[in-house]
């Protein structure tokens, strides 16, 4: 289990001190600085200063934390397996419960456009919360939106929300009108969806699955836009004619170049140019599966979380 911030050069990067004690579920760079928020199965959310390699804060939750995100540089949100969405205030090291789901909360995102916290849970709903609500979870809930299945991943760009659920469903919402999805489709990949991330330019999203494939999709349903969509294989190891097909756990887009990195259970991080359909480079193999990836706001740093992601069940 290591969390490393790698400069944009080939290598395995600088490992951060005081990593979590159990698997990392997600990590995020702040949009304002090089603070890194890391959520883990050891029930903590940790805040690091990636430049200084210093642990700045730690929040302990009652249950495993499945996702985390920044609000601004001084506060963030976490999604817990104990069904809660919590707001974390870094300066005072305080946290409070923003809201609850009926099941473990798998994803949390903050939308600057809507000023809302959006969470997806295994209770098959996506909920929107207003973080300015002060008194208790009842006042903060803006809306609940039923999904066809348990939510596995979600991503925001501009006014769009993409929700990927079990059973390969993908719902695309316009945040301004959440009453019904803008698009409801099945993933073009054949197996379970692992991760969905929107392009920084807002034209589409990348979907990754457990079958070592990533598909590049576009929001625009016109024929010309849809003709640009494609899927490619990655994170596979071929030996003796057969592929070992690794799940692609994480995708992260470079905020400026639009290139993206994918991380899989094979322990590799690949960086791709989606427009030209080429792989740019690949970092050295990490000790265990890549659990999460995040680029810093200026794209100079890539945070790589490497920890066992349970793709082989309980290891006894």
């Amino acid at each position: 289990m290591s969390s490393a911030a790698a400069p944009a050069a080939v290598g395995s990067g600088k490992e951060l001190a005081n990593p979590p004690a159990d698997g990392i579920s997600n990590l995020r760079f702040s949009n304002h600085s090089n603070n890194l928020l890391v959520s883990s199965w050891d029930k903590t959310v940790r805040l690091y200063d990636a430049d200084a390699n210093v642990l700045k804060g730690e929040f302990v939750h009652p249950g495993a934390v499945l996702d985390c995100c920044f609000h601004d540089d001084s506060s963030g949100f976490s999604a817990g397996a104990d069904h809660t969405v919590r707001r974390l205030v870094f300066s005072s090291n305080k946290e409070d419960v923003l809201g609850r789901h009926d099941g473990p909360v798998r994803c949390v995102e903050y939308s600057y456009a809507a000023g809302q916290v959006i969470t997806g849970s295994w209770d098959k709903t996506v909920k929107c919360w207003d973080p300015r609500g002060v008194s208790g979870p009842e006042r903060t809930l803006v809306g609940t939106y039923a999904q066809p299945e348990r939510v596995y991943s979600l991503s925001l760009v501009g006014n769009r929300l993409v929700v990927a659920t079990a059973g390969r469903h993908v719902n695309i919402y316009d945040l301004r009108n959440m009453s019904q999805p803008e698009q409801k489709i099945d993933s073009s990949l054949k197996y379970q969806t692992r991760c969905v991330r929107c392009y920084p330019n807002g034209t589409g999203y990348a979907l990754s699955s457990v079958e070592g494939r990533v598909s590049m999709e576009f929001f625009d349903l016109s024929e010309s836009a849809q003709s640009k969509k494609y899927a490619f294989k990655c994170h596979r190891k071929s030996e003796a004619g057969r592929d070992t097909v690794y799940p692609v756990n994480a995708i992260a887009f470079h905020p400026i170049y639009g290139t993206f990195a994918t991380g899989g259970c094979d322990g590799f991080v690949n960086v791709w140019d989606g427009i030209n359909k080429k792989r740019l480079y690949q970092y050295s193999k990490y000790a265990s599966s890549i659990a999460a990836l995040s680029f810093s706001k200026d794209g100079h740093l890539l945070a790589v979380a490497s920890s066992y992601t349970y793709e082989e069940g309980e290891k006894s």
């Binding site: 295994w122 699955s209 349970y310």
Partner: protein
């Protein structure tokens, strides 16, 4: 798609030893015409371009590469020969230092598949079958507890998705409740075996959704499962008596590894299932389409419930009942309720993966109550997407048997 129309992979690579006698088509451009969408990089998923993957083509930092295939290639047109890759492309922005992987030819033979454009709809069961066989042979993912669809952008053929995190959360919860590591591992292994069986059965007898609306919910609905009734009879080879006696089921569906019996038995013992037979895992996958996600497939849910440590004694008897919904293999009136219990409980289980064991027992009581309210749903002519029931129809609503 018949094999006569398949492109010759060797020809594409520049040399086919059969020449004019080759069984496959020697044309470099046919693939382009077949593609549903133009792709200048010849790149769509499962194009014959995949064969390029093996030759570590494209941008290479040799010191970094560990035989990682490069799926992108150099944007060569579909059908361009792999060997002559240097020739057709324009000046490449990156150094072309690819080394032809010696194992590539073998892989490329396997990798070349009919273009997926042919599978945008299930008009040809044979091609679907072929596609499924190819997928399973070449691209079985490491993670087994997944759903699967043979059509890209199509509905799932095998449902019952479980993600890594869900399994992990469940295991952590069980650990917190004090289950020994061994039982947790056994439970997970059961889940995996059952799923593998499901995949195996689907491979041997794919039931393709021809009558379903495209966006049917993941949770398997009975109309969908009923489509598979005839296939069950076929695959089982035993007909009605199969489901009533578990031993027969075990024999008939002994597709998977024989070691399956072992996990089944100890798990049962661990969870104190008195009326447990040793084959709970087996029948689940035979309902190829059924919702393994602790849903319709009573057997599957059996396993999952076991693994989560809940004592679902009532669910045992429902096995005999399950086939009833699919065509009345055995009619056991009282067990229909139990089967619904399984579905409800399974759903509860999955959604409340962190929920304590005792909750599920309560769920069974509630399910009985809920069932009475749902009767009107069975009387409807046509179900719309949102209201397809999760459970099986009670006895009184079964109009005919297959």
């Amino acid at each position: 798609m018949s094999r006569r129309q398949e492109l010759c992979r060797n020809f594409q690579r520049g040399s086919c030893k059969y020449g004019a006698q080759c069984r496959f088509v020697h044309a470099s451009s046919q693939q382009q015409q077949q593609q549903a969408k133009p792709n200048p990089f010849g790149f769509g998923s499962q194009q014959q371009q995949q064969q390029q993957q093996q030759s570590s083509f494209g941008v290479q930092f040799q010191q970094q590469q560990q035989q990682k295939p490069n799926p992108f290639g150099f944007g060569v047109q579909g059908g361009a020969a792999a060997k002559s890759r240097n020739a057709p492309g324009p000046a490449k922005p990156f150094q072309n230092k690819w080394v032809r992987d010696p194992s590539a030819p073998t892989k490329q033979q396997e990798a070349a598949q009919p273009p997926p454009a042919a599978h945008t709809s299930c008009t040809d069961p044979e091609s679907c079958r072929h596609q499924i066989a190819e997928d399973f042979k070449n691209e079985t993912p490491l993670w087994k507890l997944t759903c699967y669809a043979h059509l890209r952008s199509g509905p799932c053929d095998i449902t019952g998705d479980i993600s890594f995190e869900e399994l992990r959360a469940k295991a952590y919860e069980e650990g917190r409740q004090g289950h020994p590591l061994q039982s947790i591992v056994e439970g997970e292994r059961n889940l995996q075996n059952a799923k593998l069986m499901e995949f195996n059965n689907f491979l041997n007898n794919p039931r393709l959704l021809v009558t379903q609306t495209p966006s049917f919910p993941t949770v398997a609905s009975f109309p969908e499962v009923k489509n598979n009734n005839s296939s069950f009879g076929v695959s089982q080879n035993n007909g009605p008596p199969v489901f009533s006696s578990f031993s027969q089921v075990g024999v008939a569906t002994n597709v998977g590894p024989g070691s399956r019996t072992t996990p089944g038995v100890p798990v049962n013992n661990i969870f104190g299932q008195s009326n447990q037979t040793s084959h709970p895992a087996f029948p689940a996958p035979t309902f190829g389409r059924s919702d393994m996600k602790f849903g319709v497939s009573g057997f599957g849910s059996q396993i999952s419930q076991q693994s989560s440590g809940s004592l679902q004694a009532s669910s045992m008897s429902s096995f005999g009942n399950f086939p009833k919904a699919h065509g009345g293999y055995q009619q056991s009136p009282s067990s229909s309720i139990h089967h619904r219990d399984i579905d409800r409980q399974s759903q509860d289980l999955l959604s409340g993966i962190v929920a304590p064991t005792s909750a599920t027992n309560q769920a069974s009581v509630e399910d009985n109550k809920n069932e009475n309210q749902d009767d009107s749903i069975w009387l409807k002519e046509k179900w719309s997407i949102g209201e397809i029931p999760l459970g099986e129809p009670p006895q009184r609503h079964i109009s005919h048997v297959f």
